[in-house]
């Protein structure tokens, strides 16, 4: 039951092969058995069973929606009414959200069952899930390795079959990199395609929620639920939502694939490069054409990202002050003490580092040199992508320079950790959609292929992913012990 696709699960529920309660219990059981993976921060057993019962009644009366009765798990960055929403931080360890994020409401309306809230890097700042207050999420392919981050819990839960699908968010690679590390399919949509309302902000101009699933077909069904304009989010785009499943089987004959030469340099592990080249050859077999493109400003993406994201986070995280909600230090002496100790005691090192960097970048006398300059670089990078995507339909390359590294290996070197996102970060700066799909293994660890498209080209990306998954079996591999 736990290896079925969403389409198979929906069919099984309708044909009464199994009930939603049985399905939910199956996944809750697996979550319990694999607790040591640390994929979940909160498991909503009672709530899930209650929702499953309600779904079964709807199914019985024939009023079910496509996802009715199907379990889903939410990254703990999405506010869920009445359920703890921690954002992976001690700061919000006591925070019971008094409202639900638009994405969460959309899944509820679609009839899905929420299994629980998934582990993540603290406030989505991290590339390995090691900054989580709740500890690292373990990679099911090798539990000594990281899951990737920040949506580490989501990737682990999907890969280990603890949930059929999960939500993630991606500010600099936080959906794609853990998807690649755990061998699943993750899509970061166009900025503005999925509402950010109720999704706790890290860097507002870069954050975007998206699906994490075992294949492109399931990701398409999730996009159908998640996408759409939201009047509560001024940056969401008022554009019709296409049928994401309709074109999954379209032919790729004549598809023009661009390979940015800046992606294939010495920095990329040769073994990873080989996996990517093999995947691209597979597309050539399907009739795609390959073209080398150049994006000279890509090398500036990491510094520009860390200025912009840090600047925005330094302001976004100011609301955690111990006054109205969240962590408050014991017996503060005065206002300054309340602020400094509440924030000092509850934020982790990486969050503090980024708040400090961002505060510095916005300070009087430094603003022009850092923030303004970074915004100019951002424009140059967008222009690079625009130019490249006027020559080809999509761009392909690696998601990450290597496979999942060992827990603790990079925690002492933040720069090394930041370089993890070298192939993903520029896409967020440009606001483009990009997808990571399983493309093979190196040393028994999964390798992801990144496909980058033009604005609102999610249907094309999913089509490209789906066709590949029909001729390859990488996405069907299950980590040992989780079959």
């Amino acid at each position: 039951m736990h290896n079925k696709t969403l389409t198979e699960l929906a069919a099984g529920l309708r044909s009464k092969q199994f009930s939603s309660v049985e399905l939910t219990q199956t996944f809750l059981g697996r979550i319990g058995r694999h607790e040591t993976l640390n994929a979940f921060i909160t498991v909503c057993e009672d709530g899930a069973i209650r929702q499953a019962h309600a779904a079964d009644q709807l199914l019985a009366t024939g009023q079910a929606a496509p996802l009715t009765g199907i379990p889903v798990a939410q990254k703990d960055i999405f506010c869920t009414l009445g359920t703890k929403t921690s954002c992976g931080s001690k700061m919000l360890d006591n925070f019971i959200a008094p409202y639900s994020a638009t994405v969460v409401e959309k899944f509820e309306r679609a009839g899905s069952v929420m299994l629980g809230k998934l582990n993540m890097d603290e406030f989505a700042m991290g590339s390995s899930n090691e900054t989580s207050f709740y500890g690292v999420a373990h990679n099911p392919w090798d539990t000594c390795c990281v899951s990737g981050g920040s949506s580490g819990g989501s990737a682990v839960a999907v890969a280990a079959r603890l949930t059929p699908v999960a939500t993630g968010t991606d500010t600099g690679g936080s959906i794609r990199q853990p998807a690649a590390f755990c061998g699943i399919t993750g899509l970061k949509p166009t900025y503005g395609r999925v509402s950010r309302y109720g999704m706790i902000a890290y860097a507002s101009s870069l954050d975007q929620g998206g699906p994490m699933a075992r294949n492109a077909e399931d990701a398409a069904l999730m996009m159908q639920v998640m996408a759409g304009f939201d009047s509560k989010d001024s940056t969401s785009v008022d554009q019709p939502v296409p049928d994401y499943s309709a074109g999954l089987n379209d032919s790729l004959q004549g598809l023009k694939i661009g390979l940015p030469k800046e992606f294939f340099t010495d920095q990329l592990d040769g073994n990873i490069a080989a996996v990517i080249q093999t995947a691209i050859a597979e597309y050539q077999k399907m009739g795609a054409e390959i073209k080398e493109v150049s994006m000279p400003n890509l090398k500036l993406a990491i510094p520009a990202y860390y200025v912009i994201a840090s600047a925005e986070c330094s302001s976004n995280l100011s609301r955690y002050d111990g006054v109205r909600f969240g962590y408050r230090c014991q017996s503060p002496q005065d206002l300054a003490d309340l602020y400094t100790r509440s924030r000092g005691e509850a934020f982790g090192a990486e969050v503090k580092r980024r708040i400090l960097m961002g505060t510095y970048a916005l300070s009087a006398g430094y603003y022009d040199a850092y923030y303004l300059k970074a915004q100019q670089v951002r424009r140059l990078i967008s222009d690079d992508f625009k130019r490249a995507l006027s020559e080809v339909d999509v761009l392909m390359g690696p998601v990450s320079p290597g496979t999942a590294f060992r827990i603790g290996e990079k925690t002492s070197d933040p720069i090394q950790m930041y370089l993890e996102d070298i192939y993903t970060i520029a896409i967020n700066l440009a606001g483009l959609p990009a997808m990571s799909i399983p493309a093979g293994f190196f040393d028994d660890m999964p390798v992801g292929l990144q496909v980058i498209g033009n604005y609102f080209s999610e249907p094309k990306l999913l089509n490209i992913g789906h066709r590949y998954q029909q001729v390859t079996g990488w996405h069907l591999q299950i980590p040992k012990g989780f079959e």
């Binding site: 999405f78 506010c79 929403t85 954002c87 919000l92 925070f95 959200a97 008094p98 409202y99 994020a101 950010r196 309302y197 109720g198 999704m199 706790i200 902000a201 860097a203 507002s204 101009s205 009047s231 509560k232 989010d233 001024s234 940056t235 600047a311 925005e312 330094s314 302001s315 995280l317 100011s318 609301r319 002050d321 006054v323 109205r324 909600f325 206002l335 602020y339 505060t359 916005l362 300070s363 009087a364 603003y367 923030y371």
Partner: protein
């Protein structure tokens, strides 16, 4: 002020825009609710919430810009002003910094009959913070976030004013304008119209400005004048004693009538402004400006000029009657209802009506005598049915009752005596009974006639026409 010195004053005025809901959320803006009952998730700055701009606040800002002949920015940007304070829920205030919605404009003021144009540098939209309540919490501070997110238009003037009097004239003019435009209720007690003043002094004739101090939160016309005058004196004293004025923020204490230092420039916050990534830039199309321009009311200055010409009023009356839209509308209705008695209506409105309202502490909207009833009275004065003196009695009865002027005149028998025979008899009687003033008048003391007129009026209980009586007396005495 010591005549060697000149003050330089600029004002920053926060006007609360009278929108139904807050600038970035759907919560109500009504004043006086129970603490924290008008603050929604967005106002509380809960994790994950996002601001959505209230279009009515934008319309009101554009309305103001058009009224002061300012440039309306086709593209303006919201920025975050970052600082920590318990009544600032997000740790930043959403404001406008580099690209405000309203650019350069101006407002004309008048001080002791001398006109002056005051430049307005900019006006920008922003959200208000909540309130910290320091009393009744036993050493703790209470936070009320009802006000958090209330839309404000901060109007920044050029440093064009040279005295506290000019500053107050500008503030009054602005106060009048925002109420005319119906973008702000102008209620200063409730904080809908608040003023910060930037004050510096320099030797007369010097071009460059002196170091300025900012005086915060002076919330009445009276206090603005006193606070500025006090600050000017203080700065002159400092300089004359050989010291230097430091750039700082000062707070005016109305009880002690003094300003005291709040924080120096060194202690000032670095607000780390940057464009708010949660909000799109505000794009204002020409068509929206045209649409708003078409609905602009007649502005105070234009209305005053029209009143001067159309109703032949004196400058003071025209200024008084156009000081609010309600008062001007009331006046024009009285004129229309009375059949064009513009001058008479002007005298009555600026005199008896405003006097009575003032005494009763009422606004024109609450006037017990509506325009129709007042016009009814004026008509009877104009057609000589009653004298001006009797009219005052009638007005008192209009004020305290519901009857019309005609009903009161009828019931009380206040009609002027128009029967010449009856008046003549009384005149003869008075001449006969008052030989002394008659003698005095005949010997050239014109003033003595007044005593005789008074006697006649007394005999007729004021119902004779004093002009007629005067004429008749002279005729009889001079034969």
């Amino acid at each position: 002020m010591n005549s060697q010195w000149e003050a330089v004053i600029g004002l920053e005025i926060h006007t609360q825009l009278s929108t139904k809901s807050k600038i970035f959320s759907g919560a109500a803006t009504a004043y006086g609710a129970e603490p924290n009952t008008q603050a929604c998730a967005v106002d509380l700055g809960l994790p994950g919430v996002l601001p959505v701009l209230n279009k009515d606040a934008v319309r009101k800002a554009v309305t103001f810009g058009l009224a002061i002949d300012a440039k309306i920015a086709p593209h303006s940007v919201f920025a975050r002003k970052n600082y920590f304070y318990p009544d600032l829920p997000k740790g930043y205030q959403i404001s406008q910094f580099e690209l405000p919605i309203v650019g350069n404009g101006h407002l004309d003021i008048d001080v002791d009959g001398v006109g002056k144009r005051i430049g307005i540098t900019r006006a920008h939209l922003e959200e208000d913070a909540g309130k910290s309540l320091h009393e009744d919490f036993h050493g703790l501070t209470g936070i009320d976030l009802n006000r958090a997110g209330t839309p404000l238009l901060e109007i920044v003037s050029e440093p064009d004013m040279r005295s506290a009097k000019e500053a107050v004239a500008y503030m009054r003019k602005l106060h009048e304008l925002v109420r005319y435009l119906e973008i702000c209720d102008g209620n200063m007690q409730e904080g809908s119209f608040r003023c910060d003043a930037n004050v510096s002094v320099r030797p007369k004739g010097q071009q460059e400005f002196g170091t300025r101090a900012e005086i915060k939160n002076i919330n009445s016309f009276k206090f603005v004048e006193k606070a500025i005058n006090h600050e000017i004196e203080r700065q002159i004293e400092v300089i004359e004693a050989g010291g230097t004025v430091v750039q700082e923020t000062r707070l005016y204490d109305a009880n002690k009538d003094e300003t005291r230092s709040m924080r120096s420039k060194e202690e000032a916050n670095d607000y780390r402004y940057f464009p708010d990534p949660d909000l799109l830039p505000v794009e204002i199309e020409e068509s929206l400006k045209d649409e708003i321009r078409a609905t602009l009311p007649e502005l105070p200055e234009t209305k005053k000029q029209r009143f001067l010409e159309q109703y032949s009023l004196d400058l003071e009356s025209a200024a008084t009657l156009t000081s609010s839209r309600e008062l001007a509308d009331f006046y024009e209705q009285v004129v229309a209802e009375s059949g064009g008695e513009a001058k008479l209506a002007g005298n009555w409105m600026t005199g008896d009506v405003l006097g009575a309202l003032n005494k009763a502490g009422l606004e024109i909207g609450d006037c017990p005598v509506n325009a129709e009833r007042l016009a009814g009275l004026l008509k009877r004065i104009a057609d000589n049915t009653i004298s001006g003196k009797i009219a005052k009695q009638v007005f008192d009865k209009l004020w305290n009752g519901t009857a019309t002027a005609d009903e009161i005149i009828e019931q009380e028998g206040l009609k002027q005596i128009t029967d010449t025979g009856a008046i003549e008899a009384i005149v003869d009687k008075v001449i006969a009974a008052n030989p002394v003033p008659v003698e005095q008048f005949l010997s050239g003391k014109d003033k003595a006639l007044m005593a005789l007129v008074g006697q006649v009026m007394k005999e007729t209980q004021g119902k004779a026409n004093p002009g007629e009586v005067n004429k008749m007396l002279i005729g009889k005495l001079r034969g």
